[in-house]
Amino acid sequence: MWQRIKQGLETRIGLEDLINTKLKSYSVPRNTNIFYTLGGVALVAFIIQAISGFFLLIYYVPHSDHAFRSVQYIMTAAPFGWLFRLMHVVGSNLMVAVIFLHLLSVFFMGSYKKPRELTWIVGWLMLLVTLTFCLSGYLLPWSQLSYWTTTVVTAMPTAFPYVGDYIANLLRGGEFVSGITLNRFFALHVAFLPPILVGLMVIHVFLIRRIGLSSPPFDASSEETKPWTEYRHVSYPNGNSFYPYFVLKDLYMVALYLVVMFFVITFIPTLFLPEASNIPANPLMTPAYIKPQWYFLAPYQMLKLIPNKFLGISIQIALIGTFLLWPFFDTKIERNILKRPLLLATFIASLVLWVVLTMWGRSS
């Protein structure tokens, strides 16, 4: 049966040739490490978010009078509703973590350098879109936690003179977070953002395939260092073929991702659902201890520390801009960060700063 299907496809679309040219003869360096799988894991993480999200849509009601109760219904009454919601909740946090790690490893291995500047920029845009996914999704359960974190975050643009208030009101659809905001964020979360993220993913993968994978810069045998004056495909005649070697490596890491996800769901299910997420939104009562999600804690703490609101937000936009355009600032050909003490020191210092701000934001 299987053979006949294969044969049928072979005569019609040339299956063998397709597999050979697109998967088998696409070569990756022999010395790729496990950090090379993080991008693939992020891709699968998004697919898991999409599928669990589609199932949540079956019961979720995007209206401020019903949203909270519909999510409670998913958690307590719909058979296995808790499973899909927790996959979505835990998955969103893990997905952000995987993208962070991916970014760090790409930075550490100098893979953002010419000719891969565009790939880096598209990667950053995907991180920003993912964070927007999280922000918009967070309001949907319409709990005290949702309501008040969204109030704080949508007030941030007001730090800008003149246009700030207008932007904040546009986001919220009014002066305060309300049912109108819920519907705006719902539309963003399930209709506007998914095709944007998928589009960026297509561009990202296209660029990687068209240019060819980079190799780790830490040993002498790595990618030739001929200067880049015209287009050429980076290939590895002695490398491994993408399929099955690299695909298998990817799948192992995906399995690890699922292990972590189900470990959290089984043993620490309330890790990302604190007390305030079980209380329906009350626009007339701000609860004590409202904290954004862990990945927003560092920027949040920074805003609290810088006394001037405008300065605080401007510094953050400048920082994002700098990292986004980093390949254009750092144009040295040397890709090995271990041979560049200043860059290495900056890298470690930024990382330490981020961790300190995050812990501080958590405890203060």
């Binding site: 704080v152 919220r172 009562m285």
Partner: protein, 136 residues
């Protein structure tokens, strides 16, 4: 060749006109819909708020609070923290208003005592006529 160039420019013109003509409807469509204020003016009896007590109300769609300051009379303040929009709460023991989000503290006149809020709380007009307090 000239004909091709003409058609190209015509297409560019038509295309950009089509796109641009959507800009205005789009901007209007996503602008915040206007909301009618439900309560523009509110009146209370003086004896409903004894000295040192406060009463939470909603005025002009804004959560607000009326405080009977001992020795200084009534004041109506918006509860919306001028930092990032959380709602301040009245702390009777300390005689101040505290924001739970980033620990902004205001005195009972609405002035910032400490924390990140950049400006005082908004004050609503309030007058007392005989036994009645009128806000708004």
């Amino acid at each position: 060749m000239k004909r091709r160039k003409f058609l190209k420019s015509l297409l560019a013109l038509l295309g950009s006109t089509t796109l641009i003509s959507f800009a205005y409807p789009l901007v209007r469509f996503i602008a915040p819909p206007s909301r009618k204020a439900e309560v523009k003016r509110l009146s209370l009896q003086k004896n409903e708020i004894p000295a040192g007590e406060a009463r939470e109300i909603v005025l002009n769609n804004t959560p607000a609070i009326i405080i009977n300051r001992p020795g200084k009379g009534y004041i109506a303040l918006s509860r919306v923290c001028t930092h990032l929009g959380c709602l301040v709460g009245y702390n009777k023991a300390k005689g101040n208003l505290i924001c739970p989000c980033h620990a902004g503290i205001f005195n009972l006149d609405g002035k910032v005592l400490s924390g990140p809020p950049p400006k005082p709380l908004t004050e609503f007009p309030l007058r007392v006529e005989g036994e009645t307090i009128i806000i708004g």
